[in-house]
Symmetry: C3
Subunit: 463 residues, 3 copies
Amino acid sequence: MTLLNILSRPRPIVAIVAIALLPAAAFLAWPSVAHAAGVDPETRFVLNTFAFLIWGALVMWMCAGFTMLEAGSVRTKNASMICLKNIGLYSIAGLAFYFIGYNLMYNDVWHVIGVPDNLHGPSDSEKALVAGDDSVLSAVLENGYSVMSDWFFQMVFVATAASIVSGTLAERVNMWAFFVFTLLLAALIYPIVGAWTWGGGWLAALGFQDFAGSTIVHSTGGWAALAGVMVVGPRLGKFRRDGTVRPTPPSNVVLVTLGIFILWLGWFGFNGGSQLALGSAADAVAIGHVLVNTNLAAAAGVVAALSISRPVLGRIDLLTCLNGALAGLVSITAGPDFVEHYWAVIIGAIGGVICTFGIKMLEKLRLDDVVGAVPVHLFAGIWGTLAVCIVAGGNVLVQLAGIASIGVFVFGVSWLLWRALALTPLGARVSRQVEELGQDAAELGMESYPEFVLMPEMMDDEE
Amino acid sequence: MTLLNILSRPRPIVAIVAIALLPAAAFLAWPSVAHAAGVDPETRFVLNTFAFLIWGALVMWMCAGFTMLEAGSVRTKNASMICLKNIGLYSIAGLAFYFIGYNLMYNDVWHVIGVPDNLHGPSDSEKALVAGDDSVLSAVLENGYSVMSDWFFQMVFVATAASIVSGTLAERVNMWAFFVFTLLLAALIYPIVGAWTWGGGWLAALGFQDFAGSTIVHSTGGWAALAGVMVVGPRLGKFRRDGTVRPTPPSNVVLVTLGIFILWLGWFGFNGGSQLALGSAADAVAIGHVLVNTNLAAAAGVVAALSISRPVLGRIDLLTCLNGALAGLVSITAGPDFVEHYWAVIIGAIGGVICTFGIKMLEKLRLDDVVGAVPVHLFAGIWGTLAVCIVAGGNVLVQLAGIASIGVFVFGVSWLLWRALALTPLGARVSRQVEELGQDAAELGMESYPEFVLMPEMMDDEE
Amino acid sequence: MTLLNILSRPRPIVAIVAIALLPAAAFLAWPSVAHAAGVDPETRFVLNTFAFLIWGALVMWMCAGFTMLEAGSVRTKNASMICLKNIGLYSIAGLAFYFIGYNLMYNDVWHVIGVPDNLHGPSDSEKALVAGDDSVLSAVLENGYSVMSDWFFQMVFVATAASIVSGTLAERVNMWAFFVFTLLLAALIYPIVGAWTWGGGWLAALGFQDFAGSTIVHSTGGWAALAGVMVVGPRLGKFRRDGTVRPTPPSNVVLVTLGIFILWLGWFGFNGGSQLALGSAADAVAIGHVLVNTNLAAAAGVVAALSISRPVLGRIDLLTCLNGALAGLVSITAGPDFVEHYWAVIIGAIGGVICTFGIKMLEKLRLDDVVGAVPVHLFAGIWGTLAVCIVAGGNVLVQLAGIASIGVFVFGVSWLLWRALALTPLGARVSRQVEELGQDAAELGMESYPEFVLMPEMMDDEE
């Protein structure tokens, strides 16, 4: 447990020190136990770095998953706008995290926030090494992994948080307002949450545990989405005056399913990479556990949602099952490195149930979350962060403190930000005319499927 | 050849022993040939484990490929049900393999079957290691790879077998019956076949060779699908009374193509990972050969199908070419580790031809296989298992014994199971009314593409 | 810089020698600095080989990206043909590169061209090693990576070049003519360009720098496409007699977006793998830089295209932003291994701008490039090759010499080849009747979306 704790994410600085000490320990141990030398420092460096890059590439792929999920979930008249928002948010979030966010999250943390250094780059010794100066090798190896490989892995996480907001607010949020919000989420809000936790700040000091980000990534995205939906309001006609809810079926169910499979695959990188190392047998074993638990929790989320779908919703519902997979994944994300794998089944199944009821609850509260992102990422994220107390020794008060403080901060700042955006001439929401016509035709001058006969208003019996 | 044989899959127990001996050998060799020490045991452990996880993730991705292939192949009125069946089967198969299947396949094999231990988990020494007890490191390393990384890799294979059944029986099989069948396939049928072979049972003792599962995975799925199609029967109206066959074109050809590309990519994990190791130069070289042969065989399957498409079918046929890729992949799966790569071209091309004629043959037998899974996975699987005799020293009688015994067992048990499911109140097949309306609307209360004007009956000129 | 230069791609032969010397150096250094032994030769071999295979698999995945991009960009009446062309080109290019291309590119280069050896296979020592003869280990390790893993990585690059041609000429090029062109591109044209550069030929001797192929892969594909579009001509009705251009909106925008995400993911393999090694800390650091720069350039391409979209085109344009991502990726491909990452932002943004204006320019020249492949791959490719002079010490005259000589060669040979194909009975272009009806119905006897009501001629107001 100790080794894992040290190497797991809450305190990268401690981890760096620990990793830096390992070569020294290996050196001291060398002469007497040469046969048990273990992974040599340079090999460990290569493996750790490669793991960040490969797992990070899988997490980048999750952006495609969110895009397919959202583009299939909205009405066709807004599908192109969803595509633009998603490729835009990934680009903007990545640039913002490069120019400001990463240093705010990790550098020189005073327990509350990092420093607003501009840019982020390799260490001087790394620059010298790739320029051919081998004398700096040991200085490079001390870091345990390449500086920018860690940046790459952290950057793709930011995009995930932004994607969550996109899905909830689909079909009526103003594109420019959304991009401004994304910029500030990636440059400021998420990095500050990160500075409290993975950056080694006050929540990390308290012992807050969140292995891959049930709270830090998913609930952060979920709170920001919840604030957005409260300010921006529901889609026109979603909630009828008689209190009933108008169904808004996804326009392309197969794309939604493809999105879920992409996210499931990407989550292996999301959780597996959050071990933050691959340079020892202990790391390799732990990553194996992480992937197994991740997969079992998702599978259990599907089966749980399938089982309760008819009693709760009156019919077998595909979308509930798909969201069940995501809820299982979010639930296990806070602590997927335990060894009794049946717990993953239980945690994931409960996540699937929470999400199913959560979707109904939001509808009752007349909050219009197009893809169910708040139940999936926020509700299951809270559950997952608490589940750490059961399986991974988390302290329930500390976990609650983390959930609450991050919730208050992210929700509060996001709410103010959305309100401020609503007051600009641009507004947070498109005009009634644009919404009725669809953002694709009205704002982009295009249709997503121009050759198919569309009947976008076929369900719009009551406006 | 010897090293490869030891490390290749048929006998993991032997392989484990061999891998466990390697560190010892390295230790003995250490003082005198320090410069040729090779991969140290812990690095080897990390590499083997990482390979299982990365290749396994690629195989999981194949589920998305099967889903796209099937959802694009069926009429739109059943596409959502296909999505539900596929995410359901992956979830159910994974849970069944965790709770029962894996131990039945690998633990304590009496040459026929494993033990029905519940659950499967890491070794005690692995638990101690991740809890921080470094003294158990050598005990952990003896296994050669993390226990659960192997489980992960084997688990994704089960899902592949179940996916094959889904495609053949699309558009009329009852969802619950299909899920029950999937459960039993993953918990019992597939693990028993696995116990005979990769689990070290009687077929392995005879010398049966099936590197990544042309027979063990693909033919198993194919036999189960064939039994299913014989019991469940063809779709309504597929075979007209005058003996002609009603064409049922795929509703979304681009999704079918996407599915094939996903499967092609995933197959690099399927075959490459079946080397079961990455911890030595010999393993790395072998995996390189495996990927090259896998790619050449698929390419040759495409070109062969393209070439014979017009003579055999009267027109250039895209779907034949796509199935040709899969048939090439299945054909090479039994023995992709040979060094004369032109044989991969020949084997894959023959697979493509077999599949093309097989699709015609099934139609003549009035067996309605929606996606051509029986020709692709069963016929090409048999061919691939025999092709091992040409390129990888397989004994033709042993290979035939394996093909026949697995065929009789899987087909027989599956047929009985489908018959039993047909006798339940639920039935193995949906009602005529549901089939005509489509499973999406009738059972899920939804449409896959609700905003597009559909003409589901436009080709139904003769019922 | 030296180490990187040696290991970077221009001179594999030099790199092989250098890599082969490293074990020797390690051996000499062993007794005195055992603790700093670094990656042992066999581990290095495994890591280098594995990197080729994993990165190569990601590049193979780019073929799916091109397919989705193109199938979504064309009118539905030609989408199935696009699928067939893409799976066909990947298969044909791979076989051609196996039978002829690779050896022409790398073996026995007289500074101009390789040798037309048939086939390509593992070394004799590799064959012995996998057959169990451990005595050849050091001979195997001398190569630094498995022979066929390099073949695999180079093979997937050929397919990329061929994919570029497919997109430009969509909707009217004859399928057989296209396949013949693909065969010759993969067997002869691309390998000759490769022999001059990565094969160690005269351009490499001059010092031409092209890390992952802005010119060698992307411009080669772009020049071949440009020659094709000049010979084959525009689609019927694309350019009206009054000088106006008829808009041809993509039929499935979400698929186009999916294709872009796939390409972005695959590009991590394209550029990251082009480091050609993973066996040292310097390699790992460099690959990290490559992935970071690749991602930043793509993101900057999106944001730049988004910013200039309204001023230049009169509206926010999703397709411009998607092509901006690709242009950013192509721009950074010639030299992505520098350490001042803000340059990636600048280079990618300029690429996005060039591409946006390039699309307009081609329309003015009445060249009908269906997916904008010439601006994306050729124009941004030239820019990227010149940008190397700014960030990676390239000599501007040498870079210009490389751009020009490859341009003249590829464009000239391609133009002659397309002219020759046009003179065959088959022709380079389908008949007017086929083009009007669509290649799917006319040549494949199928529709891509048969159950959807299509109105393929809805925009064809003026023929």
